[in-house]
């Protein structure tokens, strides 16, 4: 029973990451879209936590500082709203649905318990280290796989720390919260006025949810953050960058993605390519490229400062092996990769639906999704061709996750397709 009550408490606590520091109901705010403001808040908060994770401050201290600051800001921002709405009780279908879906899936997650193989090997030990009040520098003591990016583990640890029940899965619930929020946000992108978006939200959940993606593996974080990036890029691409915040928040999100998984650097580069091809003006393009170089350089400097191993994958990817690749080997590898790529694509229903909708959508608006797909296919072939390990066993254990990570980015294609089909009036489009 305590665990069930804790789910509700978690939902309320996690919601603070969407509600603060920007007031999402403030009518004086330039951005008149509460979902977008929630996303901005989320990215700001995650960026604050990322900085905290790199500083020599224990997580207990970070928790106390953030708790007091946020409770103060919350009452300052929302006291008026609370007074009005507690008395009149305005029923909000989006919030209700968000909570119900989160609760149903949380129950599944909490009963599941089992952590994924890589989660136990790479990420959970980092979570424990942070939870036990060690800092970034101490990650080095964790053994062979310490060099894997730590930010997902830090989030896990942070929200575990602030839960009242001392069980790790309450920290992991934040992954679920982020996943639900990103799907709710993109489904509301059809139009906030229609109720079809609620059905789309449930449809996306039905197509994509399975316990294993929440077993401590980091792909779901990239999946969710790429959904947010796809919305921001769509806005930049189609509304002629009226809102420069979108660019800033794509860059901040890219930075978060970059600290979640080693290979995520390539997704960051894909996003940079898309933005360079977008309608952004030259100054902004220069700014974004400098930003990308700076975040990469910062990571190198931080790793050097703490004497972390930068190229942890040198056994899997090395020049000696690449030199041995003959055209015959490459061809045979391509055949195996293609076979599995088709298989894993067909078993990812959300990807199939999103890709079909994107390809059927004639609008130029979704061209950036097609470019991302093209880059991603090249990337998938490249990582498996260049990898020195046994190809088939490697693909069997990783490819479904590699494909799932980027699935989030294609959902925007489905949403634009549905928007075109269901809402034909100019006002709604």
């Amino acid at each position: 029973m305590t665990e069930l009550i804790q789910i509700i408490i978690c939902f309320i606590t996690f919601s603070l990451t969407l509600l603060l520091p920007l007031n999402i109901f403030d009518s004086s705010n330039k951005i008149n879209n509460s979902f977008k403001l929630c996303a901005y808040n989320l990215i700001i908060n995650c960026s604050i936590l990322l900085i905290a994770s790199l500083l020599p401050i224990t997580i207990s201290n970070v928790t106390i500082i953030i708790f007091f600051i946020y409770v103060t800001i919350f009452f300052k921002n929302y006291i008026k709203f609370i007074k009005e709405n507690i008395i009149t009780f305005k029923f909000n279908l989006n919030a209700t649905l968000f909570f119900l879906v989160f609760f149903i899936l949380s129950v599944n997650m909490i009963n599941g318990i089992n952590l994924g193989w890589d989660a136990k090997l790479f990420y959970f030990q980092k979570t424990i280290s942070y939870f036990q009040n060690n800092t970034f520098e101490d990650l080095k003591n964790l053994g062979a796989y310490y060099y894997h990016p730590h930010f997902g583990s830090y989030l896990w640890s942070f929200f575990w720390k602030i839960s009242f029940v001392n069980i790790e899965h309450f920290g992991r619930l934040f992954y679920l919260y982020l996943y639900c929020f990103s799907l709710l946000m993109i489904s509301n992108y059809i139009s906030e006025k229609t109720k079809i978006n609620k059905i789309i939200f449930l449809f996306l959940i039905i197509l994509s949810y399975k316990y294993s993606i929440f077993s401590g593996l980091q792909e779901v974080l990239i999946f969710s953050l790429l959904i947010l990036c796809s919305i921001f890029i769509f806005e930049i691409e189609n509304y002629n960058n009226k809102n420069k915040f979108d660019l800033i928040f794509i860059l901040l999100t890219s930075n978060l993605i970059f600290w979640i998984k080693t290979e995520a650097i390539l997704y960051v580069i894909f996003l940079a390519i898309l933005l360079n091809l977008s309608k952004l003006n030259l100054n902004l393009k220069i700014f974004l490229n400098i930003f990308i170089i700076v975040i990469i350089a910062l990571r190198v400097l931080i790793y050097k400062h703490y004497q972390f191993q930068l190229n942890g994958q040198s056994i899997n990817y090395n020049l000696e092996y690449i030199k041995t690749l003959s055209p015959e080997i490459i061809f045979s590898k391509i055949i195996i990769i293609t076979k599995f790529l088709i298989y894993y694509t067909l078993t990812n229903y959300l990807l199939i639906v999103s890709l079909l909708a994107t390809l059927l959508c004639q609008k130029k608006q979704v061209n950036f999704v097609k470019i991302f797909l093209f880059l991603n296919i090249i990337y998938i072939y490249a990582i498996y061709i260049l990898r020195a390990n046994d190809l088939e066993s490697n693909i069997r254990t990783t490819m479904d996750r590699v494909i799932f990570s980027t699935t989030g980015f294609y959902i925007i294609g489905l949403i634009i397709f549905l928007k075109k089909r269901f809402l034909t009036s100019k006002q709604n489009l």
Partner: protein, 260 residues
């Protein structure tokens, strides 16, 4: 308060959009069905966390997280113990990892040995039966851990008169593209009038858990005679001998022990 909430909800669900609400409700039911919501809810409500943990990871078997938690709670360990698990599982040290404590590398006192295999003789040998694969080779189908060498091979022939001359051993790591090693060993004791051949090999190799052992039997003119073989057993020397430890706690094949 609740009356007010219900009135508000019913206002929202008016005639015009009741069908949408019905679809949303159905969607929630589908999700609940997909994730076995009621079953999960009942389990969380009725089974305590630690018991659920034991059910998922096993108490002594597989990852044996239950045993690790039990030892950690019962004994106040000054160091993180060295954990040796004979089963093929992911990392298990997370279950009792205390990053504030040192690892017991230097003193090497506390050991938790999980799923210690049954040994056949006092020589601490682990028996592994080989299976025939699609290519008519014999191979060890399971991963094996903490092995020093291949001590003895037992071969059961279909025909007594079959002449066995050479054993070809191939060891290949499944995680790399490396071709592995191949070694041919001449059989000394051919037992010409028996179906049963037992040969002492003493084949030393630095085994990795992801190594696979393949065996081919060769007769005259190096001809492969695997199809005339009924079964092959290998006796592998265990790196760890439980008799070298003082056992503090034991449950089935799981031990908490200190080195003598």
């Amino acid at each position: 308060m609740f009356k007010k909430i219900l009135i508000n909800i019913s206002k929202k669900i008016n005639k015009s959009n009741s069908s949408i609400f019905l679809i949303i409700f159905l969607g929630l039911i589908i999700i609940m069905n997909k994730v076995d919501f009621t079953q999960n809810l009942a389990k969380i409500y009725s089974i305590p966390y630690l018991e659920r943990l034991n059910r998922v990871y096993g108490f002594c078997g597989g990852e044996s997280i239950g045993y690790l938690k039990y030892i950690n709670e019962k004994y106040d360990l000054k160091y993180n113990p060295i954990i040796i698990n004979y089963d093929h599982t992911p990392e298990v040290n997370w279950a009792i990892l205390n990053t504030r404590k040192k690892k017991d590398d230097k003193n090497q006192i506390n050991y938790i040995i999980l799923n210690y295999p049954e040994t056949e003789t006092k020589d601490n040998l682990i028996k592994k039966s080989l299976r025939r694969n699609n290519l008519n080779n014999f191979e060890i189908s399971t991963n094996f851990f903490y092995i020093k060498n291949i001590e003895i091979i037992e071969i059961i022939k279909n025909k007594k008169e079959l002449e066995l001359l050479t054993i070809e051993i191939k060891i290949k790591n499944t995680t790399t593209t490396d071709q592995g090693i191949k070694k041919k060993i001449t059989i000394k004791n051919n037992s010409p009038n028996s179906n049963f051949v037992k040969e002492i090999l003493n084949f030393n190799y630095n085994f990795d858990p992801y190594d696979k052992i393949y065996i081919n039997l060769l007769g005259k003119n190096n001809q492969n005679i695997n199809s005339d073989i009924m079964a092959i057993n290998l006796y592998l020397k265990n790196q760890i001998n439980i008799n070298d430890f003082n056992i503090i706690d034991n449950f089935d094949n799981c031990f908490f022990a200190k080195k003598k």
